[in-house]
């Protein structure tokens, strides 16, 4: 069957009479399978160094956590009044990153955004690993980790129960259920691809392992029907779930009385920021991955452009929220609230505040220009700024509000210790160790889903007519 060869130029040209092609380079179904499986067959010479560096950082995390459990949270830079420091900042940072994966897998699915198929698998994996990092911080933050079971409603010898009227407990449920549901959704999407890996595996062990997790999937249409229904329901429940998770994370702050935290704008502002930070991380991961693993035909410049547009949108929403917080602080006439915000921008932490503003509000504005947002290297650089800026946002919110609280005599400047830094850097070790293992053993693009968005997947597709049309597209693309 003749396959039309689409190029980047066809894809970036905005046409009203047809949708842009999502798979480039004249791939057919078989070549898509091979393209995605190649990094697993031959991970290349970049994989081991990447894995070993990640593993070393994970070791740093292990040491930092072990010393924390041994000695207690006193090893961190916490003081009174700043009794929530980097641990909560890192928690919110990581859980926010997870949100982009669910947005891509669930919300874009409900909106029938077919381009999501190229990136949803890796983004969902990123979600799982980010949530694992996020959950580790409150776990170690409790100090006596062996008493963590107190947060769960388990009948115990003290006849005591957790307080369900506290947002901190809602958070336990929200984040752990978010992690679990993301894992179920990710695995559901994986079943057909694991069957593909099983059927093309050369080694007996690989065949057995992929086969075990593929559950005996045989592409039956009767199965696909239940499967698609299940997939739609999982997308349908993940959508309100992901919006609820960062809403509840924001309640940790908003339900308290601290000026700078006690604001009603927090839920939408946190959700927008979470999606913004998550897309930043997806771009940071996928722009190098598509080159290293030869996936440029599936994760195309148009995918990068679309993600850059979402960064522009959510970054601007976050900027609006920053401005609105200031406006309300002034408009409320409340001196504590006004002081808290004036102090954020011009007080002892103004360096953190302006880092946040430049990274989160100013840097995405470059994406108004098509030339810049279709330049992968430029988008990659901005994505790093977004990651930095969103970490600083949580730092600004958590620390500036506490450091200068109601009573000036108790004000204190917070600075982290080496152990705060070690646990933060170390959490990247956990994240990248999991991610490198993922790209080594799991298809990092959803094979079956990408096939559904190729023109030849449509049973009423006429190859002859399409290739004629494609040829005109190619000719027009060439003329530019």
């Amino acid at each position: 069957m003749a396959t039309t060869v689409y190029t980047e130029a066809d894809q970036l040209e905005e046409r009203l009479d047809q949708r842009a092609p999502l798979v480039l380079g004249g791939n057919d179904f078989h070549s898509v399978t091979e393209l995605v499986a190649r990094p697993i067959d031959r991970p290349g010479n970049m994989w081991w160094p990447a894995f070993l560096v990640s593993l070393t950082l994970l070791g740093v995390y292990g040491v930092a956590v072990a010393y924390l459990v041994w000695e207690g949270v006193g090893i961190w830079g916490l003081n009174n009044p700043v009794d929530w420091g980097w641990a909560i900042v890192n928690f919110v940072f990581w859980v926010g990153i997870g949100h982009a994966g669910t947005l891509i897998s669930a919300i874009l699915f409900l909106f029938r955004q077919k381009w999501r198929t190229g990136i949803n698998r890796a983004a969902e994996a990123m979600t799982l690993f980010a949530v694992a990092c996020a959950l580790s911080f409150p776990t170690i933050h409790v100090g006596r980790v062996w008493l963590l079971y107190w947060v769960f409603p388990i009948p115990n010898q003290m006849a005591a129960w957790p307080n369900f009227r506290s947002p901190l407990l809602w958070d336990v449920f929200a984040v752990s259920i978010y992690g679990t549901v993301s894992l179920l959704f990710w695995y559901t999407g994986l079943i057909p691809d694991l069957a593909t890996m099983r059927d093309r595996a050369k080694g007996a062990l690989a065949r057995k392992l992929y086969g075990f997790f593929a559950l005996g999937w045989r592409g039956s249409q009767r199965h696909w029907q239940n499967y698609e229904s299940a997939y739609l329901i999982l997308a349908g429940v993940s959508t309100p779930l992901v919006l609820s998770v960062h809403t509840i994370v924001s309640f940790d702050f908003a339900v308290s009385q601290i000026p700078g935290w006690h604001t009603t704008i927090f839920p939408p502002y946190f959700v927008a920021g979470a999606i913004f930070s998550g897309f930043g991380m997806v771009l940071t991961l996928l722009i190098p991955s598509r080159i290293i693993f030869g996936l440029k035909d599936l994760i195309t410049v148009r995918h990068i452009e679309n993600m850059a547009k979402i960064c522009l949108l959510t970054g601007t929403m976050v900027g609006y929220a920053y401005a609105m917080e200031f406006f309300i602080a002034w408009y409320s006439g409340n001196p504590y609230e006004s002081f808290a915000f004036f102090n954020r921008a011009f007080g002892p932490y103004s360096w953190a505040y302006w880092t946040m503003i430049s990274c989160n509000v100013i840097s995405p504005q470059f994406f108004w220009f098509k030339k810049l947002r279709t330049n992968p290297l430029f988008v990659f650089i901005i994505s790093i700024f977004i990651n930095i800026g969103m970490w600083f946002e949580r730092f600004v919110i958590a620390v500036t509000s506490l450091a200068t609280d109601f009573l000036p005599s108790s004000w204190d400047y917070y600075s982290p210790t080496i152990w705060d830094v070690a646990s933060f850097i170390g959490s990247f070790g956990l994240f990248f160790t999991l991610f490198t293992l993922f790209v080594r053993f799991v298809p990092m693009v959803a094979i079956a889903e990408v096939k559904t968005v190729m023109p030849q997947a449509d049973p009423h597709h006429h190859p002859a007519a399409a290739s004629k049309h494609g040829a005109t597209v190619a000719a027009r693309g060439g003329a530019h």
């Binding site: 449920f173 057909p192 045989r218 009767r222 329901i233 429940v237 049973p459």
Partner: protein
Amino acid sequence: MVGKPSVALAEFDTAGEIYHACEHVRDAGFSRWDAHTPFPVHGLDKAMGIGRSRVPWIALVCGFTGAGLAFWLQAWVHSSAYPLVINAKPYMSWQAYIPVTFEVGVLFTALGTLIGMLALNRLPQHYNSLFKSARFERSTDDKFFISIAADDPRFQGEETLRFLQGLGASHVELIED
């Protein structure tokens, strides 16, 4: 050891071919048959004449069960098991119970959806006579298959193979169990 025929398998090259072949198999009155495709082919369930999925009903029941249990747990903990006034809130402060109720509802829906989908599909099932066919391995790659089970009342061995061949199959075979 040669057993008796268990399934007739026909291979097709494109989504369009299997779509039309399925319409013919459906119209010929077969009941115990299936199509196997590397991805869900749009509209193929209609071409095969199979009804709607029952997964949504399972999800609905599980979701309400989870939400109901979660609400009951919180109400019971704060009004009966461990009644404690915190922040001057009433024992039965139902507004505060909504987040956990919602989250647990979602958890039960997701678990019910995945487990229900697998149960309806009778998976995991690591043995199937279709896996004996070497060509069938491409059903998860780029080929499209129709299988008609030997216990279908209209199954007639070689005759059925010829029928499938006539629908434009690029390859047909009988798999023995």
